[in-house]
């Protein structure tokens, strides 16, 4: 039940924020903050009080109710270690997103926070749904509010960006739906009744050709969201046009739903096709890492640059997932968490700069260390985190991904490791371009503009994210232990497949 409460608090918190805007301009943001924090409480209470034994059942917390019996659809939610980490990340970044929007969103704040909370609710639903119809339902539900966030509060080219975002995700979502329906059809043929339940669909057997097609439907659906080259082109547009809070959500949580889908569904449901597809997936991962790192170097728009680096980092996730061993998966999960924090922080910084300077053009920035030293230090921290400095979460994640991939494909690992060099190049280049050099020499619209440094509230938010990254870097086991049992089970599923799994 606690999962339902979490969803309810987010859904109704959104409605309350909207209604609250009728009474006071400042009410929505407080309501949103309280809702996001409160949403995680029932779950925490449940986990603490019940102290579930991870060995006993697959799910730490789960619930099940009838929804549409004539389609075999159930309202069933389940939370294991993997979902737990991602739900906590979602709630954490929810707070960060509210903080990012705190001063930035003044116009129509009620509707903004409504959309923000509904996106969060959709994401939490995606991470916990174990009925695939319900999963797809949440998958779509999180897109519509996100579309509104970009379309209403976005920047100059929002119409193009919002439409592109929606079309990419919807069209790939339709492929996902189609593949899901074929899967369910096979289940009905083999077992005589309709069901969308995850555990049921794991039992479906298909001949290799069909399995490959259905797997591709799932893969494309998730790889568009991840995103992986060549389906990534919506992301730079969406990011550069979205308001800061929207970027935080997009980079921090929405991209992770794609990776989660691959781990939870694509590989366990189609072990044989995935094994056959692994070389292609690894190649795409390497391509994403290298190509997007290279493209990032050529950007003059700060947010676009960070967006491309996101795609590059997501390549490590794809690499770790398709290594399909415990190391690789742990690496992928760690990268998801760490990238969630570092990308959210970098987008917040870029948003903060844009709000102060009214431009995202790197060419017109420079020498900001002088007027804004605190901001510079924070930016340096997160840039260094993103480039994979040992001692921070990103390093652990990318290192484990590479380690996992090494046992599968040496050449892919070697090439992917080059990406870490690129990461250093673009991170340091950005630092140099934005914060170093002469402040007075900077040209363009930003020159001479007063540049207020980070305020106390901003510092607190960034400090929180820094702590998270340091904790991941120094105590990775605290995170790895949570997801280990869940990932082991997922690996077992494909090993148990009678036709042979991936090894």
């Amino acid at each position: 039940m606690s999962l339902v409460w979490t969803l309810m608090i987010l859904f109704f918190g959104g409605v309350a924020a909207w209604i609250g805007s009728l009474f006071h301009d400042r009410a929505p943001r407080s309501i949103a903050l309280v809702s996001v924090v409160a949403s995680i409480l029932p779950l925490a209470l449940d986990l603490v009080s019940a102290a579930p034994d991870p060995e006993a059942s697959r799910w730490l917390v789960s619930m099940n109710a009838q929804w549409i019996p004539s389609l075999g659809v159930q309202f069933s939610l389940g939370l294991d270690g993997l979902s737990l980490l991602l739900v906590v990340l979602t709630a954490f970044l929810g707070v960060i997103a509210v903080a990012a929007a705190w001063d930035e969103i003044v116009e129509r704040a009620g509707f903004f926070y409504f959309n923000l909370l509904w996106t969060l609710a959709g994401v939490v639903g995606v991470f916990t749904a174990i009925d695939l119809f319900l999963f797809f339902f949440f998958w779509e539900v999180m897109l519509i509010p996100m579309y509104f966030i970009i379309a209403i509060w976005g920047h100059e080219n929002k119409r193009y960006a919002a439409t592109k975002f929606f079309l990419f995700t919807q069209a790939s979502g339709m492929l996902l739906l189609l593949a899901l329906l074929v899967l369910v059809y096979f289940f009905r043929v083999q077992h005589g009744y309709l069901s969308f339940a995850y555990e049921d669909l794991l039992l479906v057997r298909m001949n290799p050709a069909i399995e490959m097609w259905v797997m591709l439907g799932f893969f494309i659906g998730f790889a568009t969201k991840l995103p992986s080259v060549p389906l990534h082109t919506w992301l730079p547009d969406a990011h550069s046009q979205a308001p800061t809070a929207g970027s935080v959500l997009l980079a921090g949580v929405l991209l992770k739903t794609g990776a989660y889908g691959l781990i939870r569904f694509t590989l366990p449901l189609f072990p044989n096709a995935s094994a056959a597809f692994t070389p292609v997936a690894l190649a795409l991962a390497v391509l994403s890492i290298l190509y997007c790192a290279k493209v990032a170097l050529a950007q003059s728009d700060l947010k676009r640059l960070i967006a491309y680096t996101s795609v590059s980092h997501m390549g490590f996730v794809l690499l770790g997932v398709y290594a399909w061993n415990l190391l690789g998966l742990q690496g992928a999960v760690m990268t998801m968490l760490a990238h969630g924090l570092s990308a959210a922080a970098l987008f917040s910084l870029a948003g903060g700069l844009q709000r102060r300077l009214h431009t995202r053009d790197i060419g017109s920035m420079g020498g900001f260390w002088q007027p804004a030293p605190r901001m510079a230090i924070v930016a340096l921290f997160f840039s260094v985190a993103a480039l994979g400095m040992p001692g921070l979460g990103n390093f652990i994640g990318e290192f484990l991904s590479l380690l996992g991939a090494f046992s599968v494909s040496v050449s892919a690992t070697v090439l992917a490791a080059l990406g870490m060099i690129f990461a250093s190049v673009y991170s340091l280049w950005v630092m140099q371009a934005v914060f170093q050099g002469g402040y007075a020499n900077a040209s363009g619209p930003a020159s001479g503009a007063a540049l207020p440094d980070l305020g106390r509230r901003e510092l607190a938010v960034y400090g929180l994210m820094m702590l998270g990254l340091i904790a991941m870097g120094f105590f990775p086991n605290a995170f790895l232990d949570v997801s280990e049992a869940a990932l082991e089970r997922l690996l077992d599923l494909s090993r148990l497949s009678p036709l042979g799994g991936i090894e």
Partner: protein, 505 residues
């Protein structure tokens, strides 16, 4: 000719019981007579609308009661060779009556400020409804023709309805003449087809048609009948009239055309598919598949850059009729029509809702059908914009709306029947469709400061200055929105209802 052959086979006796079965039809017919008398006594817009409303409400109530009974008892009554009353036909009757009820209210508000004669609109709506009801419960080609003609005749008048104001002029007359000529050709084709079928099989009863399915003449006849129906459903390549007529017609008339005009013909097509084993004939199936794919692709592509909302709805209806046809084609030879029925119900509710929104934003003096009229509607009139968004998201098949459930079922049925080509068309069409449905939503989301007043359009659309006459339309729109959202979140009742009805078909 028709009667001589058909009537001899079955008992022609009309008892009181059988008259009761046609009570909704009789009520609507009586209402139209009463409405005419009321108009003859004295013109009064409100009084005519009240008579119409009461009659349709009574007919809906009867149909509802009949439906409850039919579902319980599994009733199926052949009423003379002309009519068949079973739970499917009663469902169609109920749908048409309720839609027509909404249309009467919309028309009342729309025509409120017109200083010309406005009572005849309701009269013609009643006649169109009667035609649609006849068509929906037809079991014989003679009934089909009578129903179709009654529906079309009334629609000619509604499309050409005399209006003033900036939007009207020669365009609605042009639309009416276009519809008149093409509709007459379609009826003639249907009649000729029916004659060929009769020549080959010796019967005009729908249920007895599967006898001579391998003869060429029979197939040609059937195809001609389908051409006649395809025109009414505006399937490609018989769709050319649709955008012009939608654009030229007054909004309530276009809504009538889009909802009860299509629903009645679609219901008959389903009857034909299940009764006459239409889909068993390979030539017919192949042709319909081609038509369905062409409708989906052409409808969506033509709507893509359409700046006029009425034309957009016309193109979108072409695409939706293509989807509907796919549901019939993938129904195991007409055996499993529950998805087609679901799609039809959802389509009717959604287009009724979309038209209700646009009608609320318009009056007979000024129609808001341009995209620019809706710029920033979200901030001026949030509830109207919300309702219109729900309808458009529903038409696009986005979750949380009934449109998603319908599209989901359609996908599933096509996948189950392994119709991959048709399924691909549906997917491509729906993906394209998203773009133009979103365009309108985006237009409504534009911030007021970025909206520059167009030189031509003075007043901006909104709900703020609506009079009492629109209250009923608002209620109707509210109910429609709730239905769409509720069946999107909890579709179980709708799904089991549709399944129960389709089983009886």
């Amino acid at each position: 000719m028709a009667s001589a052959s058909g009537f001899s086979a079955i008992d022609t006796g009309l008892s009181l019981d059988s008259l009761l079965l046609l009570l909704p039809h009789e009520l609507v017919a009586m209402t139209s007579v009463i409405a005419m008398l009321v108009i003859a006594i004295g013109r009064n817009h409100f009084r005519t609308a009240l008579v119409t409303f009461s009659g349709l409400a009574l007919a809906s109530l009867c149909a509802g009661l009949q439906l409850a009974e039919a579902l319980e008892l599994g009733m199926s009554s052949q009423l003379t060779p002309l009519f068949l009353v079973d739970s499917f036909s009663v469902t169609a009757v109920l749908l048409i009556c309720l839609s027509s009820l909404a249309l009467a209210l919309m028309g009342y508000a729309y025509l409120f400020e017109l200083d010309e004669a406005k009572d005849e609109y309701q009269l013609m709506l009643l006649l169109a409804t009667l035609g649609a009801l006849t068509l929906a419960s037809a079991a014989h080609f003679a009934t089909v023709l009578i129903g179709l003609e009654m529906l079309s005749m009334a629609l000619y008048g509604m499309i050409a309805y005399t209006l003033h104001g900036s939007t009207q002029g020669a365009s609605n007359l042009e639309a009416a003449v276009k519809y008149l000529v093409l509709s007459a050709v379609a009826s003639a084709t249907l009649l000729f087809g029916a004659a060929l079928v009769f020549a080959e099989t010796g019967t005009l009863t729908i249920a007895a048609l599967d006898a001579g399915s391998d003869s060429l003449l029979f197939q040609i006849g059937l195809i001609m009948v389908l051409i006649g129906l395809g025109f009414k459903l505006s399937l490609v390549p018989l769709h050319l009239w649709t955008p012009d007529v939608y654009q030229g017609a007054p909004l309530p008339a276009a809504a009538t055309l889009a909802t009860i005009g299509k629903a009645a013909v679609a219901a008959f097509l389903m009857r034909l598919a299940s009764g006459a084993m239409l889909m068993e004939i390979d030539a017919v199936w192949g042709l319909l598949a081609l038509v369905a794919v062409a409708s989906i692709v052409a409808g969506n592509l033509l709507a893509l850059r359409q700046p006029n909302l009425k034309r957009l709805l016309a193109y979108s209806s072409i695409a939706h009729m293509g989807y509907f046809l796919v549901a019939i084609l993938a129904s195991e030879g007409g055996a499993d029509l529950d998805v087609a029925l679901l799609y039809l119900l959802v389509y009717c509710v959604l287009s009724l809702g979309a038209f209700a929104c646009v009608t609320l934003a318009s009056s007979s003096e000024r129609e808001s059908s341009d995209f620019n009229d809706f710029s920033g509607l979200f901030w001026r009139s949030p509830w109207l914009a919300f309702a219109l968004s729900v309808m458009f998201l529903g038409l696009a098949g986005i979750p949380l709306t009934a449109g998603f459930i319908a599209k989901f079922q359609l996908f599933f049925q096509a996948a189950t029947a392994s119709e991959w080509g048709l399924l691909a068309a549906v997917i491509v069409g729906s993906s394209i469709g998203l773009y133009y449905y979103l365009r309108l939503i985006f237009q409504m989301l534009m911030l007021p400061e970025s909206v520059e007043p167009e030189p031509g359009s003075d007043a901006r659309v909104g709900l703020r200055d609506l009079g009492v006459e629109s209250l009923a339309s608002l209620v109707v729109l509210g109910i429609l929105t709730l239905i769409v959202l509720w069946s999107g979140v909890y579709p179980e009742p709708l799904l089991s209802f549709v399944e129960a009805v389709a089983q009886a078909l």
